[in-house]
């Protein structure tokens, strides 16, 4: 069964293959995503992040959950040589990893409900466990950044997280915090990892690195990547092909 909603300003989809208390489980995860949005939104003035940015709340007086996300932002900054940076112009914006964080924890909740075969997606980033409704590996299309209703690659995966960062036609410009410019050398960067939390944060950083980003992913053990450049050529890691359908 697949259920969809718009939460965090983004489309959210959960597919559960197994029998069980699906409605309750999905409602629980959707409600968790609304909580994440309330907490981490950079659009809502009442969010914890907005309160920090507006000087109404000290970073030291935040919940364990927020502290965990901020610590992971700092960790990712270190691990990526500064190419992931949740701070821009003095404002905090952890959205480069919050989506992956939310999907990952949402998937953990479904595990606790006893499900083994399911997919959790928020706006193009996904965590899958087990197999799809045909009892086969989940088939994930990598979107053509120049033509969003088209896929340019299809991968089949079990127990993986996949995240894509990019500047699409009217797209968001990911900031390159090292060179302090908008990162727009490449069109999209897709990362496959065991969990979408890591795939998301490293996809964000690798995208900001420009064409060098794919080499950064190649260097990470347990990660594969597919980078699409502005000239419509793709560069991918040597282990990526094992997932290609």
């Amino acid at each position: 069964m697949t259920k969809s909603a718009v939460i965090m300003g983004m489309p959210v989809r959960i597919t559960i293959v197994d029998e069980g208390n699906i409605n309750e489980a999905i409602a629980h995860v959707f409600s968790y995503f609304r909580h994440i949005d309330k907490t981490f939104s950079t659009y809502k003035n009442s969010s914890v992040i907005s309160k920090i940015n507006n000087g109404l709340l000290s970073q030291k007086n935040v919940s364990k959950e927020v502290a965990q996300v901020l610590a992971r932002c700092e960790q990712t900054k270190r691990e990526t040589g500064g190419f992931f940076n949740a701070w821009k112009n003095g404002k905090l914006d952890p959205s480069g990893l919050v989506k992956g964080y939310a999907i990952y924890h949402g998937a953990q909740m479904l595990h606790k409900f006893g499900f083994k075969n399911f997919a959790v997606e928020i706006a193009g980033d996904v965590q899958v466990f087990g197999t799809n409704e045909e009892k086969k590996p989940w088939r994930i299309g990598i979107q053509n950044p120049f033509k969003v209703n088209e896929n340019v690659k299809i991968v089949a995966v079990i127990d993986k997280g996949i995240a894509t960062s990019g500047t699409y036609v009217q797209g968001r410009h990911i900031y390159d915090p090292v060179h302090k410019i908008a990162a727009d050398e490449i069109a999209s960067m897709t990362v496959i990892a065991d969990n979408v939390y890591d795939a998301d944060r490293f996809a964000t950083a690798a995208f900001a690195m420009g064409e060098k980003g794919i080499a950064f992913i190649q260097k990470l053990s347990g990660y594969e990547g597919y980078m699409i450049k502005k000239d419509k050529k793709a560069v991918y890691t040597d282990g990526f092909e094992k997932f290609v359908v």
Partner: protein, 144 residues
């Protein structure tokens, strides 16, 4: 072709470095990548090779190694390589220094091509576009 160039450049750089270390009999365990210059120690006596160069300082071409430019300068003393300096080396971030040596030769490339087969899920960034989020946020503001 570019890939062969990269591999060739990397082999040349590492070849020079390995040669230098052997000539010096150095025990140093410093990582090569990340050092912008080689230490200025002179060659130990008694280490002779058959190759002889003209004394002087020679600057190599700037070479695009995909992840940035590489340019080296070689100093020859008494017909032998006494030092190699990296005039240009991509070192704008810690990561680029780490990735250079191992990652680049393994990458593959292709032209993107439409796939028509069915999928369960699409991974892409279009739905997180700022335009999308702003539009939705403004709509939600009106709705609230």
């Amino acid at each position: 072709m570019k890939k062969y160039l990269q591999i060739t450049v990397l082999f040349i750089i590492f070849g020079i470095v390995v040669l230098l270390r052997q000539l010096r009999g150095s025990e140093e365990q410093n990582r090569v990548v990340g050092n912008s210059t080689m230490p200025n120690s002179s060659l130990p006596p008694g280490q002779q090779t058959n190759i002889s160069y003209k004394d002087g300082t020679y600057t190599g071409d700037v070479t695009d190694a995909y992840y940035g430019n590489v340019q080296v300068q070689v100093a020859i003393v008494n017909g032998k390589i006494s030092d190699v300096i990296f005039l240009q080396y991509p070192n704008d971030a810690r990561t680029s220094q780490v990735i250079n040596a191992q990652a680049m030769p393994l990458l593959k490339s292709e032209a993107i091509q439409a796939q028509s087969a069915n999928v369960d899920i699409v991974s892409g960034a279009s739905q997180t576009s700022q335009a999308f989020q702003q539009s939705l946020a403004s709509a939600l503001k009106k709705a609230s």
